[in-house]
């Protein structure tokens, strides 16, 4: 039984075949990257995993359990967290509050207890803060802890989004273009963190990325997509030298 399996996934929006017959497996503890030109269907695969859309056909299994067909909010409970290509943070809340929302799946208290803020709620709140603080330390966000997200620079927001996802305590982390919009320095930090996710935290990473140097640096395996279809699957080097992949990116070479 593999850790994560996508089986013959397809989805169509009206006439657009966004994803067609895509199958792949992700092993526990690896960094698996999906690449492909714009509109290849990479984000759509993430949306299928998040159960935002039901697939037209195919299924998704996580730790041996089929997740397609579950209610979308259940995905987080299973231990799958994601970031979004166009940052989706809780803008009018502080960084800390954003991370605390990430602790939602660890909620232990009932509504009536919360209304009275009874001791169990206080204890749980302190525990949530400790967990959030660990992630803040890990990603060097101390400086921004109490800032409102809406005012933060793009690069920081990107890190906050990763932090929020990590606070959920995921087993599988989906990253949609983690380095897009970052400067080389921030991008380098991101690469380090992705490596640490895998090495130190033991989190499996499924990532979409355009920056090929980052991809080669952190990925164990790479899947190339074009127009919703699988082109090649293998190590970063194998995929990059595959003639069909080169053709998809550069057009047909005569």
């Amino acid at each position: 039984m593999s850790f994560f399996t996508a089986e013959n996934l397809s989805i169509q929006f009206g006439g657009v075949k966004a994803v067609t017959n895509v199958s792949f497996e992700v092993e526990r503890g690896e960094v698996f990257t999906i690449i492909g030109p714009n509109g290849a269907g990479k984000t759509t695969i993430f949306n299928l995993i998040s159960l935002i859309y039901p697939p037209t056909s195919g299924r998704i299994l996580f730790e041996g359990q089929e997740i397609t067909g579950l209610a979308p909010h259940r995905v987080a409970n299973l231990g799958i967290a994601r970031t979004f290509q166009n940052i989706e943070l809780f803008e009018h809340a502080t960084v800390l509050q954003n991370l605390l929302i990430g602790r939602h799946t660890h909620r232990t208290t009932a509504l009536w207890q919360e209304l009275l803020f009874l001791p169990p709620v206080r204890r749980a709140e302190i525990a949530h803060r400790e967990a959030a603080e660990k992630v803040i330390d890990f990603l060097d966000l101390q400086h921004y802890r109490d800032s409102f997200v809406a005012g933060l620079p793009y690069g920081v927001r990107k890190v906050v989004e990763l932090a929020r996802a990590l606070t959920t305590g995921p087993k599988l982390q989906l990253l949609d273009e983690p380095s897009s919009g970052l400067n080389p320095e921030e991008s380098d930090d991101m690469a380090f963190w992705i490596e640490d996710l895998k090495k130190d935290l033991g989190i499996t990473v499924l990532m979409v990325e355009h920056d090929m140097s980052l991809v080669s640096r952190v990925s164990d395996r790479v899947l190339a997509l074009n127009q919703g279809e699988m082109l090649a699957l293998g190590t970063s080097r194998e995929v990059q030298s595959d003639p069909r992949v080169i053709e998809a990116y550069l057009g047909k070479q005569e």
Binding site: S50, I52, A71, P72, H73, R74, V75, A76, N77, A81, R82, F84, E88, L89, F90, E91, H92, A93, L96, Q97, L100, I101, G102, R103, H104, T105, R107, T109, L111, E114, L115, L116, F117, V121, R122, A124, E125, I126, H128, R129, E130, E133, A150, G151, R164, T168
Partner: protein, 358 residues
């Protein structure tokens, strides 16, 4: 501006940040308790209305300001609370029980309406709640043998565990106690997982969902709590005015309840209080102003809606954070004096978030 140095997490979880804040809240409580001695009877009566509107404001703030769900039909819950109270009191049910029943019944009504309605977003939700409001208004007009139809229902004074609430000062203390309990509960809720889930839904449904938040469940909870609070306010309101009839719960009342939070300041319970005070004080101020205006203008019934509309528009354009936002700025100005610089609160240019698929 004071800086809070945090040394441990318990500090974050505390109700008040520091001694200074405790001092001001104690002072406020003392002033509120002394008010009936200081103010004439008429103004105490107005204070009662403000307190009742504070409860409405807390409910609307929870729903609109914190959960980001609009309602233009909340007068219906006010009606459910008011009529429940009227009917139960007429049957001799004690006040504590009838008030709880008013809260419960409106909460359940909110829950039932909320479930289907909250699959809807933005303008659709506004229209659905508005439609619900119209239907409830019509039902209480037509269901004459229960509600008395257009001839309305009379209420007697409250008997609160043997104490007759027979003057405005007593009514004021009763409302003040309820407001304190309700606001404490709401503030507790907002510093707990449920409250944070509301904020998450307000700011991004899609990522709230990816954090494991069951959107429909939390929206429904928010709607139900807000309806229950409105029901409590309705019961108190019914006693305050002593006579209820369908037109006291029409669309304009629902709209007024929603504007309360926009004028007070979205996303803070302070805003709910400021909004409540504004809604009650404005007509009084206008009446007062009339003595100084030329009679040709002062006699006009259109004066009040015009001024109300203009103030609403002005706030939305110039001070989107409402009265509370203004207050924070003024407070910061004085605490930093003379170091305040212009542009300190310059508005963050928000990205235009379209509901459409581009």
């Amino acid at each position: 501006m004071r800086f809070y140095f945090k040394t441990d997490y318990a500090q974050d979880v505390r109700l008040f940040q520091d001694g200074v804040q405790v001092f001001w809240y104690v002072a406020l409580a003392a002033a509120l308790l002394a008010l009936p001695v200081l103010l004439p009877e008429y103004l105490i009566g107005q204070m009662v209305f403000i307190l009742i509107y504070c409860i409405i404001g807390a409910g609307m703030m929870l729903l609109i300001g914190y959960t980001g769900q609009i309602s233009l039909g909340h007068a219906a819950f006010l009606a459910v609370g008011a009529y429940t109270e009227a009917l139960l009191q007429a049957r001799g049910v004690p006040f504590a029980v009838s008030l709880s029943a008013a809260a419960l019944l409106s909460g359940v009504a909110g829950f039932i309406i909320g479930m289907p309605a909250l699959r809807l977003k933005g303008i659709y939700l506004a229209i659905a709640t508005m439609a619900f409001g119209f239907i409830v208004e019509e039902v209480i007009t037509r269901w004459e043998h229960v509600t008395g139809g257009n001839s309305g229902k009379q209420l007697k004074q409250i008997d609160f565990f043997g104490i007759a609430i027979d003057n405005d000062a007593r009514f004021y203390y009763l409302c003040l106690g309820l407001v304190a309990v309700i606001f404490l509960g709401m503030i507790n809720l907002m510093r707990s997982p449920t409250g944070r889930a509301f904020v998450a839904i307000r700011d991004s449904e899609i990522s709230a969902q990816s954090m494991g938040i069951h959107l429909a469940r939390y929206k429904t909870i928010s709607f139900a709590i807000s309806a229950a609070l409105t029901g409590v306010a309705g019961a108190l309101y019914a006693h305050k005015v002593q006579f209820i009839s369908p037109e006291q719960f029409n669309l304009l009342v629902s709209i007024e309840m929603a504007t309360l939070v926009f004028i007070g300041g979205l996303g803070s319970f302070h805003g709910a209080v400021f909004g409540a005070a504004f809604i009650i004080a404005l007509p009084q101020v206008i009446v007062f102003m009339k003595d100084y205006l030329p009679t040709a203008i002062a006699q006009q019934t259109g004066l009040q809606p015009t001024i109300f509309g203009l103030i609403l528009i002005a706030f939305l354009i110039f001070e989107p954070l409402g009265i509370y936002g203004r207050w924070v700025k003024i407070r910061t100005y004085f605490s930093l004096f003379p170091f305040y610089r212009g542009g300190m609160f310059r508005r963050q240019k928000a990205y235009m978030k379209s509901d459409r698929l581009k």
